[in-house]
């Protein structure tokens, strides 16, 4: 079928506006990206973060006094250093390089050699601020490339950079420069992500506004960055229950589709609706499933739903395990948990209600807030690819216990039906967000992951850092109170490794006054620390 643009990067800037479909939520996001407040935009893969950023960029540049600069930190160019300062300088150099290119493209600066049309004497103009910026970039580059021994103290600091940017703005009548960091935090390890958010905060001046796209569940902000104070936080949420949901997604597809597909879907609206609901608010998934359709008919739609939502959708999730090697076991467990436990349980839940003649269906589940840390981590990772979506974080369930409510992508549940399309409409109309199976804090399916193993990577550097991590005293665990730390020490548990190697049962047995709740809390503290580290 027709080839669609599945990624914003594949669309030339000139074509963005023609393909753009925005609803009132999107307008709110674009407004936030264009405002003077820095903005973080959260959304799972393929939900349209980059697209909205591009639209904001185009609108910002309609004002001649504003400049929008896209910065890409690509994985392949990432420097490998444990020196935080070097990493910070590397990011700063990349950011400023993007700015100098943009200034040149906008006609606000001229390349130093000017391609030989001016004689050397005439082109010699050492006093421009663009030169300053280039000199700063060069100094940073030299510092982290290690070509020469450079005294870090002699490097320009962030204030120098901000001053240089301010001069560029005043000289060129620019009011504002917007930096867009797309997928920024994604390629970084947690420690690098913290550095990134420091830079994000540090760069703020009346002239500079930073915006970044981030994924749910896999972003670490660090201590100096406070989400509520340092930025506007926006989430891309496209709930299948929204009244304009179908029209919105139809507009997105029809902007790109050829006349034949449009006609076919206009004649068989329900087929389109089924595919749109299955995508669970994700434009890329919808476009991909339509692109892979053989024909616009019921059997093709059923085939693609089963093929995609039972199998292909997991490819990205599994890749995540390859990327975050230390997390492989948790990524794989998360898939098993969702496929073999959660989805099956939801299916049974729906089946029972159907047999009883109750007109209620569910794609939701609830997990106790005090579940083991690896379970929570696995769920966080599942929300990164958008297979599940966290709806609310403190929902009361049976016995008034608090927990988190998640939504499983509609397609993943519907694909279990023999004829997904024929069930879709009724299933959707009967959805009730209040009906869902629950997974308590001691659910038997957690047993496979509570004692997850460490150290699957063979890399020496990884092993060495892991060792030093494990050797740290439990005093570093901020989640524990002093009383709890003393109790642990009293039982001979002195390091993170000691704590990690003990099961909850053995903590209950060996420490007086520690029951299941405290044992879980103590284990979670050590595990959270390790998991965060292992993300790299």
């Amino acid at each position: 079928m027709t080839q669609f643009y599945l990624r914003t990067e594949s669309i030339k800037t000139a074509d963005i506006k023609a393909l753009s479909v925005v609803n009132s939520d999107d307008l709110g996001i674009i407004g936030a990206l264009k405002s003077s407040e820095p903005c973080l935009l959260e959304g799972s893969r393929g939900t349209g973060k980059s697209f909205l950023m591009k639209v904001a960029e185009i609108e910002i540049e309609e004002d001649p006094a504003a400049l929008a600069v896209f910065v890409a930190f690509n994985k392949s160019s990432l420097i490998n250093t444990d020196d935080d300062l070097q990493f910070y300088h590397w990011m700063l150099a990349k950011t400023l390089k993007a700015l100098t290119n943009k200034l040149r493209k906008k006609g606000l600066s001229v390349s130093s050699y000017s391609a030989g049309l001016l004689s050397n004497d005439a082109s010699d103009d050492p006093n421009t601020v663009e030169r300053d910026l280039k000199a700063i970039v060069k100094l940073f580059e030299e510092s982290y490339k290690g070509n020469s021994a450079i005294d870090v103290g002699s490097l320009p600091d962030i204030e120098d950079v901000k001053e240089a940017i301010e001069s560029i703005c005043t000289e060129n009548n620019l009011d504002k420069i917007f930096f867009f960091f797309d997928e920024a935090a994604h390629v970084f390890r947690p420690e690098q992500q913290r550095q990134f958010f420091s830079l994000f905060k540090d760069l703020r001046t009346p002239y500079v506004i930073c915006n970044a796209a981030i994924y749910p569940g896999v972003t670490y902000f660090g201590e100096s960055f406070e989400v509520t104070h340092d930025c506007t936080y926006k989430k891309i949420e496209r709930d299948i229950r929204d009244p304009d949901y179908l029209q919105y997604f139809k507009d997105i597809v029809f902007k790109q589709a050829g006349p034949e597909i449009k006609k076919a879907f206009d004649n068989q609206k329900e087929l389109f609706n089924t595919l749109a609901f299955c995508a669970g608010g994700n434009p890329r998934v919808l476009l991909k499933t339509i692109q892979d359709l053989d024909k616009v008919n019921t059997s093709s739609v059923n085939a693609i739903i089963k093929e995609f939502y039972r199998g292909k959708i997991w490819a990205e999730h599994t890749e995540l395990g390859e990327k975050y090697k230390g997390h492989q076991e948790i990524v794989d467990w998360g898939r098993d948990f969702l496929e073999q436990t959660v989805i099956i349980t939801i299916e049974k839940y729906n089946m029972v209600r159907k047999e009883k003649g109750i007109d209620e269906t569910s794609v939701y589940f609830w997990v106790h807030k005090n579940s083991p840390e690896p379970v929570k981590e696995a769920l966080r990772l599942l929300s990164y690819t958008g297979i599940i979506n966290k709806l609310d974080s403190s929902v009361r369930a049976t016995r008034s216990e608090l927990g988190v409510r998640y939504e499983v992508k509609f397609g993943c549940i519907l694909s279990l039906e023999a004829n997904p399309h024929s069930e879709s409409k009724h299933f959707y109309e009967s959805l009730s967000v209040k009906k869902h199976p629950e997974f308590g804090k001691q659910h038997p399916s957690y047993s496979g992951i509570t004692e997850f193993s460490l150290g699957k990577s063979d890399e020496d550097q990884y092993k060495a850092s892991l060792k030093s991590m494990l050797e740290k005293p439990i005093d570093v665990l901020e989640l524990l109170t002093d009383w709890q730390k003393d109790k642990l020490k009293g039982a001979g548990i002195l390091s993170i490794e000691d704590l990690h190697s003990k099961s909850e049962e053995s903590l209950i047995d060996s420490i007086y006054n520690v029951g299941p709740a405290r044992a879980r809390l103590m284990k979670n503290a050590a595990t959270a620390e390790l998991l965060e580290y292992l993300s790299g």
Binding site: R7, S77, K97, G107, S114, G116
Partner: protein, 234 residues
Amino acid sequence: MNIEEYLSRLNDESNNIFKKTILYRDCLGEAHHSSSCIYEFSENISDSAEKKILQTVSSQLESATFSACKGLYRQAFVSLRLALEMGLASAYFSVHKLELHEWLDGRGDIKWSSLMCEKEGVMSDRFSKAFFSDFDENMEEYRGKAKDVYRKLSEYVHGNNETWESSEIELSFDEKRLDAYFESTKSVSEILMFVLSCRYLKSFSQDALETLEFIPEEMKHLGYVRQYFGGPKE
């Protein structure tokens, strides 16, 4: 009116055109950026003759824009066409050393038909297969673009009925013509960047690729280029 007065009046008129054109800062900036990118690209090529040709291409592009600013539209298009030919020729010569030396000696010419040859040219599948096979996917499309822009530019160089009308040669500000120039510059730069990337990217070190941020920026719509620079997959 003597010859000095006559030329001075032409110069005044040209300067008036310049004042109007200089207001098109975004387009002028983009044209300058493109020629700078070609220069920066050339700095990573080890063969000095190939490098020098590309640096001349960069100068050609600058001089084309300057001619356009002064209202010398025909000259601008001539320079632009030359930049396109030479840019593609540098890729062609990089695999035909004998012809390179004959051309440097003045014994050979750049033949557009050889550059565009579907089987042996720099925009053939054979070429991409040898240097960066993923470029196959878009080779035909870009070859079509190259032929198209070359034909348009040639109309200004050789002249057709429309371009040889005296009103078209007269020195006066012509917005339509200026727009056509900026459009053509965009196409020429895009085609050159496409062919040069196909020819050289795989031969560049990681450090060199690091300095070429403008390539993933300008060509990120091509999935394989984006991925080669560590960007996201399709």
